[in-house]
C-alpha cells in the first residue's frame, strides 16, 4: 500500500482570506490578522493571526487555531508552527478529532515527515466531552506519556499509558497500539472472551489476528479452561476474484473427561473421549452473475465436540453440512445440492445422528418458458431426490416413521399449462392442465412395527394428470379515502386417484398444515413424495384494503370440498401427512386469515382453522406487533389442537412475547418469554439491560431455558458484553447460547 501522501502537491494554490493583510517587504513576511482562512492543497486552516515567512517557508498561526487535514482529522490548537506544505512542525495545547469521532488532547505535538504526529502527555478517548461541563472526565480515557499517530501504518500508539474509568486510573499499560480510522484490517490481539460452565470450568480465551495480505488472513485463538485444559482454534480466510474460502480447525486434549458424566448424570460422548477435534470449511464462488457454487461442511472427531465447546457458528444441536450449485435468472431456477445433517447430542447411546438422512443429491429445476404456449404459461418442474439413512427414525411406539433405514430415490418431472381469460364484465376464468410422472427406486428395510403397505424393494413409479378451472370475480370498492378489492374465487380440479399412496416413503412432504395459503393450491401437499388426487373444489374469498392514511387491511376465508375419487388426506402414509388436517372430511374445516397494519406502528395478523361442524378452533396463530417511539414489541399466541394421526398427541397452546424499551437516550431494557399455557410454566424467559453511547456499549442478559429432556441440568445463563469503541470489547457468558 503506497504511503499516504500527506504533503501538498507542488502546483497547489494557497487561497488566503483575512480581515487585514500586511506584507512586510524587507523580512518577506506576510501577516494576516482577523478571521484568517487558508485553503491549501486540501488543508483548511482558520486562526486569528497567521504569519507566513516566504523565505523559510514556515507558517505560524495563533489564536483559536483550527485545521482540517485531507485525511479528515480536525485539529484545534492555541498556536501552530508548520512548514508551508504542512508536513512538519510543532503544535501547542491542541485537540484532534478524527473522522471516526475519537479525540486526542495533548499539551504539544510534533509533526514529522507529513505522516507521523507525536503528542506529548496526550489523552486518547472515543467519548465526546460532556456538554454541560467539558472538564468532567469522560466515561473512559487513556492518558499516555506519548501518543504517536502514524498515517503509513495507520496506527495510534500509546506509550506508558494509563486506562482511566470516570477519571480513576484502572490499568497501567506499557504500550498499546490501536488501528486508526483508515485501517480496515490490522494484525493484533482481538477481544478476549470469558465463560464458565459446570463441565468446562472457568474459560478465558484470547484470539490473535494476523493479516497476510488484503485478501488473506489468519485468526488463531487459544482458550484455557480450568477443568478441561487448553483449546486451540485456527481460522484461515482467503478471498478470490469471484469468491471467498474459510477453513477452520480446532482441537483439545481433555484433562477431566469424566466431569461430563458426573454433571449430566448419564454416560456421555464427551466423557468417553480425551483427544477431540474438528475441521470445517465454508466457501462461496460466483461463477457468473447467474450461477453460485459453494459449500459449508464440518467434520468432527465425536458427535458433540463443537456444541460442548460452543465453537462459533457450529454450536447448535442441529448442524447442516451442504455442497451446492445454484442458478437463478429470468423466470428459471436451478439448485443441485447434497446434505449431511449432524445432531449434536451428548447421550452416548443416542442414535439421533444416525437417524438423519444423507442426501446425495436433491435437484430442483423450475423453468417457465419465456414465450407463451397456446396463449398460456408453460412451466416445467423437475425434482430428483436420492438419500439414505443408517437407522430407522420412529415416533415412539406410534406407527409413524419419519425415516426408514436404507436407500430410496425418486425422479419427478411435471408440466403445467395455465391461461386466464377475462370477460368484458370482469370475470376471470383460468384453465389449467398438468401432467406429472415419477420414477422411484427403493432399497429399504421395512418398518419395525406393524405398518404394512410399503412397496417392495426395486423400482416402481406413478403419475398424475389434472384438469383445472378457476373462476374469480374481483370487485373494486372505492370510497373517499380508501379502496377495497373483494375477490370471490371458486376452483375445481379433476384428477384420478393418487397411486401407491402410503406405499412410498415420505421424506420431503412430512409437514402438512391446511391454511389459506394452501387453500387454492393445485396440490396441497408440501413436497413431491405425496400427490393430491381425486376431484376437489376450493371456494373462498380474498379481500385487500388500503386507506389514504397508510393503513392496510387484508383477509382470506374459504373451504374445500372433496367431490369424487380417493381423498388423499384420508389415506395414511409413513408419517400420516394430511391426517387430522381438516381436509379428511367431505367438506373441509374452514380456514381464515386476516390482518391490519397501521402507520402508527401497530400490526396485527391472525390465521386459523375452524372445525367444519362446531367451528371450534383447531389451529390458531395470532401475532401482534407494536413499534412506537422508544417501545417495540411482538406478541404471538399459538394454539394447535392434537392431531393423533399426524403424530402430535397433545394440544399445545403457547404465548410468546419479546419487547424492548429505550427508556433514556442511552439505556434500554428488553425482555422475552414464552409461556406454555397447557403446562402452565415458562418454557423460556429472559431479561436484558443495555447501555450504549458514542464510546461505550454495555449489555447484560439473564436467560432461563426449561429443557424437558434434561430437567436437572442448570437451566439459567448470564451473558455480558462490555465494549470500548475502537479499543475492543470483553465478552463474558456462562453458556454460549443465543438468547431467543
Amino acid at each position: 500500500q503506497p504511503p499516504l501522501d500527506v504533503s501538498v502537491p507542488a502546483d497547489a494554490k494557497m487561497l488566503l482570506a483575512a480581515d487585514q493583510l500586511i506584507y512586510d517587504h524587507d523580512s518577506s513576511l506576510v501577516i494576516a490578522t482577523g478571521g484568517v482562512q487558508i485553503d491549501y492543497g486540501g488543508y483548511q486552516l482558520v486562526a486569528e493571526r497567521v504569519e507566513y515567512d516566504q523565505r523559510t517557508g514556515r507558517v505560524r498561526a495563533s489564536g483559536k487555531v483550527e485545521m482540517l487535514e485531507p485525511g479528515g482529522n480536525r485539529i484545534y490548537a492555541d498556536n501552530l508552527d508548520v512548514t508551508d506544505d504542512f508536513s512538519d512542525g510543532f503544535v501547542n495545547a491542541l485537540r484532534i478529532e478524527t473522522p471516526d469521532n475519537t479525540r486526542i488532547i495533548a499539551e504539544s505535538a510534533e509533526r514529522s515527515g507529513g505522516t507521523e504526529t507525536t503528542f506529548n502527555n496526550g489523552v486518547y478517548t472515543a467519548c465526546e466531552p460532556c456538554r454541560e461541563n467539558p472538564a468532567k472526565a469522560p466515561f473512559w480515557q487513556i492518558k499516555a506519556r506519548k501518543v504517536i499517530q502514524n498515517g503509513v501504518t495507520q496506527t495510534v500508539r500509546l506509550e506508558r499509558a494509563t486506562f482511566e474509568l470516570f477519571g480513576m486510573p484502572i490499568a497501567f499499560l506499557p504500550y498499546l497500539e490501536l488501528p486508526d480510522h483508515q485501517a480496515k484490517r490490522k494484525s493484533g490481539f482481538l477481544q478476549p472472551s470469558f465463560s464458565v460452565t459446570d463441565e468446562l470450568g472457568f474459560g478465558a480465551g484470547i484470539p490473535y489476528y494476523y493479516v497476510i495480505s488484503p485478501s488473506m488472513d489468519v485468526t488463531v485463538t487459544g482458550t484455557g479452561y480450568t477443568k478441561q485444559g487448553f483449546l486451540a482454534e485456527g481460522e484461515f480466510r482467503q478471498r478470490f476474484e469471484n469468491g471467498e474460502v474459510i477453513l477452520r480447525m480446532a482441537g483439545i486434549s481433555q484433562n477431566n473427561p469424566d466431569n461430563f458424566d458426573a454433571s449430566a448424570g448419564y454416560s456421555t460422548v464427551d466423557g468417553s473421549v480425551t483427544e477431540r477435534g474438528f475441521i470445517a470449511s465454508e466457501a462461496k464462488f460466483e461463477i457468473n452473475p447467474r450461477w453460485t457454487f459453494g459449500w459449508d461442511v464440518m467434520l468432527q472427531s465425536d458427535r458433540n465436540f463443537a456444541r460442548t465447546y460452543g465453537l462459533q457458528g457450529y454450536g447448535d444441536v442441529r448442524h447442516t453440512s451442504e455442497v451446492y450449485l445454484t442458478g437463478l435468472a429470468n423466470r428459471s431456477f436451478f439448485d443441485l445440492r447434497a446434505y449431511k445433517f449432524d445432531v449434536q447430542d451428548d447421550w452416548i447411546d443416542s442414535t439421533q445422528d444416525k437417524e438423519q438422512a444423507l442426501v446425495y443429491p436433491v435437484l430442483d429445476y423450475n423453468r417457465i418458458s419465456p414465450r407463451s404456449v397456446a396463449g398460456g404459461e408453460l412451466a416445467l418442474n423437475v425434482n430428483v431426490q436420492n438419500l439414505s439413512r443408517e437407522n430407522e427414525d420412529r415416533l415412539g411406539v406410534l406407527e409413524r416413521y419419519p425415516g426408514l433405514e436404507g436407500e430410496s430415490a425418486r425422479l419427478t418431472a411435471e408440466l403445467e399449462w395455465k391461461r386466464t381469460f377475462t370477460t368484458a364484465q370482469g370475470l376471470r376464468l383460468t384453465t389449467l392442465l398438468a401432467a406429472r410422472a415419477d420414477g422411484n427406486y427403493l432399497d429399504l428395510t421395512g418398518p419395525s412395527g406393524t405398518y404394512s403397505g410399503l412397496e417392495s424393494n426395486g423400482s416402481t413409479g406413478r403419475g398424475m394428470v389434472t384438469a383445472g378451472l378457476e373462476a374469480s370475480y374481483p370487485i373494486l370498492m372505492t370510497t373517499a379515502n380508501s379502496t377495497h378489492v373483494i375477490e370471490p374465487i371458486a376452483q375445481v380440479f379433476v384428477r384420478p386417484n393418487e397411486q401407491l399412496s402410503g406405499g412410498l416413503p415420505n421424506e420431503d412432504a412430512q409437514s402438512f398444515v391446511f391454511d389459506t395459503t394452501s387453500l387454492f393450491d393445485r396440490d396441497k401437499f408440501s413436497g413431491y413424495d405425496r400427490i393430491e388426487g381425486g376431484t376437489r373444489a376450493n371456494v373462498g374469498v380474498r379481500y385487500t384494503g388500503s386507506y389514504s392514511n397508510g393503513m392496510t387491511t387484508f383477509a382470506t376465508f374459504g373451504q374445500s370440498y372433496h367431490l369424487a375419487g380417493l381423498n388423499s388426506f384420508t389415506t395414511t402414509d409413513l408419517v400420516g401427512a394430511g391426517l387430522d388436517s381438516g381436509l379428511e372430511s367431505r367438506a373441509s374445516d374452514f380456514v381464515a386469515m386476516a390482518g391490519v397494519t397501521s402507520p402508527a406502528g401497530i400490526t396485527l395478523s391472525g390465521s386459523g382453522r375452524f372445525d367444519n361442524e362446531g367451528l371450534s378452533l383447531k389451529r390458531g396463530d395470532l401475532t401482534a406487533g407494536l413499534a412506537r417511539g422508544p417501545f417495540s414489541g411482538t406478541f404471538t399466541y399459538s394454539d394447535v389442537a392434537a392431531q393423533k394421526g399426524y403424530g402430535a398427541t397433545q394440544d399445545r397452546r403457547e404465548l410468546k412475547g419479546a419487547a424492548t424499551l429505550r427508556f433514556t437516550e442511552n439505556w434500554s431494557v428488553s425482555g422475552a418469554a414464552s409461556y406454555d399455557l397447557e403446562r402452565q410454566k415458562f418454557y423460556r424467559s429472559g431479561v436484558g439491560l443495555a447501555y450504549g453511547d458514542e464510546c461505550v456499549e454495555f449489555a447484560i442478559s439473564y436467560q432461563r431455558l426449561l429443557d424437558d429432556n434434561k430437567p436437572e441440568t442448570r437451566d439459567w445463563s448470564i451473558a455480558a458484553r462490555l465494549s470500548f469503541r475502537t479499543l475492543g470489547d470483553i465478552n463474558y457468558s456462562t453458556v454460549d447460547e443465543n438468547l431467543f
Binding site: 437463478l328 435468472a329 370482469g426 373494486l476 413436497g527 397494519t597
Partner: protein
Amino acid sequence: CQVRPLYGEGGADLAGIEIKPATTRVEQVVRNELIFKFGGGAGEPASPDYTLALRVQGSTGNVLAAGTDNDFTAARTTVSGTYTLTARADGKVIASGVRAATALLDLPSQNYARLRAIRDGEDRAARSLAAMIEADIAAKLSR
C-alpha cells in the same frame, strides 16, 4: 362509495407492467406469480408502460418448541414484499407499499424434511403475497 368490477371493460389493464429481475428464489416465485397474474399467460410485455420494483424478504420462525412427546415444532414462514410501481414515461410513482403473508407449517424431527417444509412454506406465502400486491396495483391503476 363506488362499486364496479376490477377488470374487464373500463377496468384495470395490467398487461403493460414489467418487473425488475429477481435476486433470490423467493423473490422470483413472487415475480413469476405476478407475471402470470398481469399477463394471464402472455408472458412478459415487449413494450411495457410501467416498471414494478420488488424487494421480497422471507423468514421462518419457530412458534411452539417440540415437547417431549410431540416431535413437531409448529412454525410459521412470513414473506414480506416492498413494491414500487413507476410509469416508464415520466418515472412518476403510481403505487407503492408493503405487504406480508404468513404460511403455517410444522418442522418434523428429520432435518431434510424441515428444509423442504420451509421451502414449501416460502412458496405458499409468496403466492399469497403476490395476490395481495396484484390487488393493490390493480386498484391503483383503475382509479
